[in-house]
Amino acid sequence: MSELDIVVIGNGMVGHHFVKTLVESGAPVRITVLGEEPRPAYDRVHLSDVFGGSAPEALALTDRETYESWGVQAHFGEPVSSIDTAGKAVVTSLGRRFSYDKLVMATGSYPFVPPVPGHEHKRCLTYRTIDDLGEIRARAKDSRVGVVVGGGLLGLECANALKNLGLETHVVEFAPGLMGVQLDPGGSGMLRRKIEALDVRVHTGKNTSNIGAGDSCALKMEFADDTELQTDMIVFSAGIRPRDELAREAGLALGERGGIVVNSSLQTSDADIYAIGECALYEGRIYGLVAPGYRMAEAVAQQIAGSEGAFTGADMSTKLKLLGVDVGSIGDAHGRSPGAISFVFSDERKEVYKRIVTSADAKHLLGAVLVGDCGEYDSLLQYHLNDIELPAEPEALIAPAMGDAPVLGVAALPATATVCSCHNVTKGDIVSALDQGCCDLAGVKSATAASTGCGGCAAMLKNLVEDELAARGVVVDKSLCEHFPYTRQELYHLVRVGELKSFDALLAAHGRGSGCDICKPAVASILASLWNDHVLDAAHATLQDTNDRFLANMQKDGTYSIVPRVAGGEITPDKLVVLGEVAKKYDLYTKITGGQRIDLFGARVEQLPLIWRELVDAGFETGHAYGKALRTVKSCVGSTWCRYGVQDSVGMAILIENRYKGLRAPHKLKSAVSGCTRECAEAQSKDFGVIATEHGWNLYVCGNGGMKPRHADLFATDLDDATLIRYIDRFLMFYVRTADRLQRTSTWMDNLEGGIDYLREVVIEDSLGIGAELEAQMAHVIDSYQCEWKTTIDDPQKARRFRSFVNSEEQDNTVTFVTEREQKRPGRKVKAQAQRIAVGE
């Protein structure tokens, strides 16, 4: 079969999803993408996050390199200007012609701007693209008051954006209530109440008749009821209209009020042209949510790849947070189905409104509205989608807990039940992932992508996985080891609350047996994080893992390597000379590390104190390369030298490294600071990374290199120095407090229910109220810092433990070296047993 030429018009979320799905299907096709916007697809749903702290780049769903690696020819900023259906080709704005066998239109929609006189004013904007955001931000700078026209889902998102920009924010809606499509009047009223409490002024039933020059503000809006509103800027977000102009000119069938008519195969009136997403009209309806768009994209990709794929409509239920208010809408929210009856619960004190709509016999859930509390959303949605029979008293589903409310157990869900609607993952998919060997939540997430989109299904997914594991008889034993029936987190808590200062005290109070090489280092780390005593104090020394025990890194032959701290990678020529001289004197192999330091190899245990005496005298400190502790904070040279640097990255790296040096954690911690967006320090591959911006610092968290590399996630933007440090203090201590043994920050976050959003709530909003406590604990660690090596060599009792033999000054004769590339390295050894056999023969 020869390769089909597939041309895709539009590279929004749905267009991109189509390309991705088709590429992943492995179908023999040549794909050409023609996008109007100058950048590849990005996440439009989370547009307002940009005003809440995310960088616009964080919204990107893909990049040019990815398309290139897929073999997809992509042209951004080059819209299609016409379709030649007879010649089966499209022509772009640059006059280029691309032939197609199949054409996919994913042109999306545009914001509807009501034709009010004055709407062309330069202070009137729309809200749909990243470029729109730039204009809104620019305009907001000289504005005090902002109006959003449109009280729907997008309008309220936009109001959130204006509020985040610090404007006095108004919402003007033509209809009598907010979110009239998704909410009934009761829910709409409660939403209004809650939003007004957040200082957003809501004006409903307002028909704008004119926009002219204002008096107290730049603009004046006049309404049909003779009232008026002064504002400095207006953002229109009054619904969307399908981008169907190309289809119209090409003679494709359109709906009466626009939209490209498609059948269940998503074919337009020309069978070789498909339309998907918000430009498509299926059975008289435009699907203005991303999930149905994705289903359309998948259906077309399946057809092109040669299998069956169809779209038969989609559920438009939705759960979201608008201006911090939980809102959920399921199915027939208005109770318009014939014979439908409703159950309503409203609490004006707590500002919660819930309504369920059922069939006349109250056995089937037709719809629901939830405002202020979406706790029941997941259960209700499953009743609705799977047509599960309701309990005898359905009102108990939404009534506040007076005893035990009937909960729809995950076990009751059919295999077809959708758990994650973002990635279309069913209960069956999750069960089969478990069948194929996944044995925990993180494994299921990475195998199925469930709960990696909006995260709304996190709680349900967790229950389902635990329930399924239990059903398989898998007892999830979270004991650290046979000596402690507790997790690391629980032990941390026991040590902290009981103020236990030693392993023996903890073992006596909460453990059994003699301990082992699992629990001893784990407890040693907890003790160090909390009390920060010297790790080689008599009570702690024998708990330490291999490297901590001798404050150096044991190599394969039993010798050690030494890594002095070189904060930020900045070192004077004098200190470099010292390292060279020490290495020469003790005949050490030297190598530059990945963390901008120098590693000296081949020291015997009795040489360590001698070497460190010379290093300490020359001003070096221990680098903790041996510990589950902060290692290095790598930096690029930053604004002090670099032509492109915008902040002093070296200075910040040194500040951070000196602040957190010596902090012991569940796993090693690495960091980096880059002086500009070119990111030469590779901060996004670190547990916490900092990248300079024009206005301050962007903080990234939970990345790592190593066996399973992971990019860090953008956590907060444009921070000043003090805020940056405060967030890192809290982030690190929260990790130290709650992570599992040997769990790096990335897996820790993946296992936190709520992921990075939850982490932001804890660190930035201090939702648990422990911010001050975490900072105080960090302050204690910083205040009690000591260079472990200096203390060790100054204390004869500690120093005398560094001996090869307690009864002889002889050197270890099993250690031998050979020379390679002008330096020494360990001689190769034959396994003792093999040696023995050879001797015997």
């Binding site: 301990g515 044991m554 245990v605 001996r803 307690v806 003792a832």
Partner: protein
């Protein structure tokens, strides 16, 4: 088997040279001996060959001491296999046992036979 003459007990180091809860290495002729001192146990002193036959380095005295079930063990600091302090057996690889020495305290002297 009974006719073999036992080597004599000899002092190898002082109690003060030992590390409570862990190991140290001593030289017995040319042999490297790991001495483990566990004052909390009924029997407080144990001696094994210091050479880790799996990691091929003289390091066992630097491992973490603990218990697995009823057995007292040391975990090799290199690749963490466990060696029984009483029998010298490796719990993970049956073929990789280390030598065991008789050892006892006499006042503050550590005596060994081997």
């Amino acid at each position: 088997m009974t006719a073999v003459t036992q080597p004599d007990w000899q002092a190898i180091c002082q109690r003060d040279d030992l590390v409570a809860g862990g190991g140290v290495c001593a030289l017995l002729g040319q042999e490297h001996v790991a001495l483990f001192y566990l004052p909390a146990q009924e029997r407080s002193l144990y001696a094994l060959g210091n050479y880790d036959p799996i990691g091929c380095a003289s390091v066992l005295s630097r491992g973490i001491v603990g218990s697995i079930g009823e057995r007292l063990v040391v975990a090799s600091p290199l690749y963490k296999q466990h060696f029984d302090l009483v029998t010298g057996e490796c719990l993970e690889e049956a073929s990789a046992a280390v030598p065991v020495y008789e050892v006892r305290l006499d006042g503050d002297s550590v005596l060994i036979r081997g």
